[in-house]
Amino acid sequence: MRKADPGGGEMSRTRTKRTASGPAVATIVMLRLYIASDAPNSVRAVANLVAICNEHLQDKFKLEIIDVLETPLRAVTDGILVTPSLARVSPSPMVKVIGDLGDKRTVLHALGIGESIE
């Protein structure tokens, strides 16, 4: 499972473009954010993601925040190695973004709503 991860970032972006042609925003976007407690990058990631979602998805998203220090096994089963990491669970396929999500365009791209804004 983890073997597929390397390069997943690049691949997922291409896939996202394809799915974005459909009405991605109409369906509810399920997101999982893996964080490490209140560590600086983690709190930034949460703030950035919430701000982006509130702005672009309004109520059309569901966000689950997973603290890997408390439940590391969730990360293991989801194939998450480093935190903070954002995973789009649905619509499939799964997309991952690593880091504090400070780059808004990358995040929107990953969420599959980049085009709809541009």
Binding site: G8, A39, V43, A47, A75, L81
Partner: protein, 575 residues
């Protein structure tokens, strides 16, 4: 976080040791984007799938340790601490006490402070706040109000300071938030009585002024102003800061006297010489005469001397009272007129003076009507002799507040009192028993009024009225018993006890603790020489039971006097 690629896995167990740590990361993380993220310091923790555990990178570890330290300090002074990024968006909010999960603030992350539903801050104030943030200024105790889901009002106080990284780059704000709802509530409750009192004062139709010890008005209710427009008069509309005493002192013309009186009264209350000063005065306003009632009392509470001046417009009350009095007096006049016409009564009798005699008062109303027709009020002066022994009785007397002594005279000796008649009885009972000649001397001992009736009229009334007969027989019996008791008393008891008894009897008959009795009369009463009276009276006075100066007797201690008297007083008192 800067990983060091040269450091290799020499100590895979020691997480704190940096070279081993780096090696471990390199073992776990193989993909380029993740390694790149770690290189750029954007990663906090790495999950080890082999052990199923996550471990923090050194930078994150340090940051969390620092955070924990700061928070434990903040916990001492606040309920929550928060952090904002460089765009002032909340990135974290955590309760510093266990179980304190910032209710109502779940949605705070990612938002700006001024986007939160606080309702007590105006747009202008938020602009000012944002300017402060742009200057990177620390803000303290910003008090914000919101309504929670249950409809309750919650208050928080929020403080914050800017944070900078090692390169002095602005990173955002961090700070604390405290729930101050309870404090606000108690503040409100504490202010409530004051506010209530102020509202009440404003609503009163009374002017209220509080003066300091110099007479300066330090507080006045608005009514003072309202009154000033409509009416004149002293004390109308004295504004805060003016001197009330000065205003009174400056009063001229018709108001001069009132002004002086009021100023003097206020000064007395300020000086503590008087606990209350009242003054009623009239003033002429364009709308007519106005009456005012002015009350000055000390201001309750400790500290500086203050007085309260209440000025009430009592014009309405006066008018109503005046009208009511006019109605009553008209009614009374009508009644009096009717009474005089029907019964031919002397108007002085109609005034109720006859009631003072308890023998007359005890008679039923219908019997007294005819009796009253024959009664005439007279004033009896001290020393006046009503009857002499052996002389025919021409009048009977019902004393109101005079005192008549009945004296038995013995040939060659002084007289001896055998009876005392006051408001409880009648002089001339022999007539009631069928004798029209007096057997005693009736001497007026105390000036006062009495109702008089001629003997013929009395006999006629007596025949007609059964209640009058009954009352008189009862009274005669009491009189006889009293005479018998007095005779025995005079024989056996000491002068002092007898004097006490006589004084008590006189007191009952006069209805007052103070009366005039000459020593001669007292000597007659007791059948002793004047010297003995002086001596006995001196003893009673010494025991502080009576005071006796120049015939003026005052009973000081009735119970004590009773104890000093012989039992004869008690024996005849209730007859």
């Amino acid at each position: 976080m800067k990983s060091n690629p040269r450091a290799l896995d020499r100590n895979p167990v020691g997480q704190e040791s940096r070279p081993g740590f780096d090696g471990r990361i390199l073992q776990l993380v193989k993909s380029v984007p993740e390694l790149r993220a770690i290189e750029s310091g954007q990663v906090d923790a790495v999950v080890d799938p082999a052990t199923g555990k996550a471990f923090l990178l050194p930078d994150a570890q340090r940051a969390l340790r620092e955070q924990a330290r700061v928070r434990s300090l903040l916990a001492l002074s606040s309920d929550w601490c928060w952090e904002q990024d460089e765009h002032y968006r909340f990135v974290s909010l955590s309760g510093t006490t266990p179980g304190n999960s910032a209710p109502g603030y779940e949605g705070i992350i990612g938002k700006l402070l001024w986007d939160l539903p606080f309702d007590n801050v105006q747009e202008v104030d938020w602009d000012a706040h944002q300017r402060r943030l742009q200057w990177r200024a620390t803000f303290r105790d910003l008090e914000l109000r919101r309504t929670d889901r249950a409809g309750g009002v919650r208050w928080v106080s929020i403080s914050g300071e800017p944070t900078f990284d090692e390169q002095d780059q602005f990173m955002g704000y961090r700070g604390t938030m405290r729930d101050i709802t309870l404090r606000k509530q108690s503040e409100f409750l504490a202010q409530k009585p004051i506010r209530l009192a102020c509202d009440t004062l404003e609503a009163l139709a009374i002017q209220v002024c509080v003066l300091d010890s110099f007479g300066t008005v330090i507080m006045a209710n608005k009514r003072s102003g309202a009154f000033a427009a409509g009416t004149r008069g002293i004390g109308a509309g004295v504004p805060e800061g003016a001197n009330y005493l000065g205003v009174c002192d400056r009063a001229r013309g018709n108001e001069r006297a009132d002004g002086v009186a009021i100023a003097a009264g206020i000064r007395q209350v300020i000086a503590g010489e008087s606990p209350l000063f009242r003054h009623e005065y009239v003033c002429n306003s364009p709308s007519g005469r106005c009456w005012f009632n002015l009350t000055v009392t000390p201001f309750p509470g400790d500290g500086a001397t203050r007085v309260v001046v209440l000025r009430e417009n009592v014009t309405e009350r006066k008018r109503v009272d005046g009208a009511a009095r006019a109605v009553v007096s008209r009614k009374k006049a009508a009644e009096r007129e009717r009474g005089e016409r029907v019964r031919g009564l002397d108007h002085r009798v109609a005034k109720g003076r006859f009631i003072a005699n308890s023998l007359l008062a005890a008679l039923p109303r219908k019997d007294t009507q005819d009796l009253h027709a024959g009664l005439e009020p007279v004033t009896l002066t001290c020393g006046e002799v009503l009857y002499e022994p052996g002389e025919p009785i021409r009048h009977v007397y019902f004393p109101n507040d005079c005192l008549v002594s009945l004296l038995a005279t013995v040939e060659g000796r002084d007289a001896l009192e055998v009876g005392l008649v006051g408001r409880e009885g009648m002089v001339g009972v022999s007539l009631a028993l069928g004798m029209d000649v007096s057997s005693v001397r009736a001497l007026v001992q105390r000036t006062g009024t009495a109702m008089r009736m001629d003997a013929a009229g009395f006999r006629r009334e007596l025949r007609k009225s059964l209640p009058l007969q009954r009352e008189l027989y009862r009274y005669t019996h009491a009189k006889l018993a009293q005479a018998r008791q007095t005779a025995a008393c005079n024989r056996f008891h000491v002068v002092e006890a007898r004097l006490a008894r006589s004084l008590l009897m006189a007191r009952d008959r006069v209805g007052s603790n103070q009366f005039l009795l000459t020593q001669e009369f007292l000597a007659d009463m007791l059948g002793v020489r004047r010297v003995a009276v002086t001596k006995a009276a001196g003893t009673l006075q010494h025991r502080k039971l009576i005071s006796y100066t120049r015939g003026k007797i005052r009973i000081l201690d009735r119970k004590g006097l009773k104890a000093a008297s012989c039992g004869c007083y008690e024996a005849v008192k209730d007859l």
